[in-house]
Amino acid sequence: MSYKKFLLDYTLQLADDALIIGHRTSEWCGHGPVLEQDIALTNTALDHLGRARSLYQYAAEQFNNLSDDEKKSIFTSVAIQQMVQNGTAIDEDDLAYLRDGWDFRNVLLLEQPNIDWAYTVARSFFYDTFNYFFFSQLRSSKDESLSAVAEKSLKEVTYHLRWSSEWVVRLGDGTNESHKRMQHAVNELWAYTGELFTMNETDTAMLQQGIGVNLTDIKQLWSERVRSVFEDATIIIPDGLWMQQGGKEGRHSEHLGYILAELQFMQRAYPGMEW
């Protein structure tokens, strides 16, 4: 793969993570346990979607600058292939609404269903902790667009982490029932945390260029923070070492299909529709 394709792939990994967690979090809108938390999660969902937009805009710009042959080799989704065939430039919406599941590069953790408050909190906490350290480092990326996104995102992510850490402690160190549910959610989602730190070909290439972040360093920081919050929350770190992966390579759980069906329906059924 060329440098340009690695950069596009890297941008899309970050964008897809942001879109999918943003969509999952937005599913709480109107369903939160109390009005105040409903608004809190909806705010967070919008932060994620805002980041997704910036990154998709950047990705679309990169994509449109590729040669025709390169363009054909990036996505297998028919709708995008047709646009390439017709010589039409793509935009942020095309990337979100017209790619099929296997073209998405988000980690599996983020497509997992909300289930209950504890699952939602655990999933957010694992990802927010990752994001906090990741974007801290991405700020010094040699790529100016990515470092600008990181600078803006870090402020938002700092608040997300504060929110989810507090809920881990509230539930974990709360009643017997809340503790049981928090521990259960952590146990169930633990196997999805490893993928956050796997360095694929794209991650390695971008790290070498001084654009990407060293995920091995992030893992160290992540583990320390998770351990310390879990200690306050009286939550035990699961001892399972086997980790799920595949999302970054386009191999997803069945859940992504349902997300995309809901997310993409309008644009697929009524192409180009605006409101």
Binding site: E36, Q37, I39, R162
Partner: protein, 98 residues
């Protein structure tokens, strides 16, 4: 407050300072389990459109209010005391910016 649902979080009053140098103003109320959550909820509910730079919260039960039934005796006597307004006095021309 005997019929308050015990499982419900207490009510908090929220005060927001819109910018440095101005007073905190009452913005509304919300429910939260403790002061930390109250501040965070206030941030999410009342500062989403850049309304503030500082938040105060106080549990509503700690606010003591005057009795609306006593409004006449408390406030009406001030009605005819216009000399209490500084505008009642003529200012010398040399005094500016009052």
């Amino acid at each position: 407050m005997s019929n308050t649902n015990k499982s419900e979080w207490p009510l908090w009053e929220v005060f927001i300072r819109s910018k440095a140098g101005l007073d905190h103003k009452h913005a509304g109320s919300l429910h939260a389990a403790d002061e930390q959550m109250a501040i965070e909820n206030a941030r999410d509910v009342y500062t989403r459109r850049m309304e503030g730079v500082s938040i105060w919260v106080v549990e509503s039960r700690f606010i003591h209010a005057s009795d609306p039934g006593e409004a006449e005796s408390l406030y009406d006597p001030a009605n005819d005391k216009i000399y209490r307004h500084p505008t009642f006095y003529n200012l010398p021309d040399e005094v500016k910016y009052m």
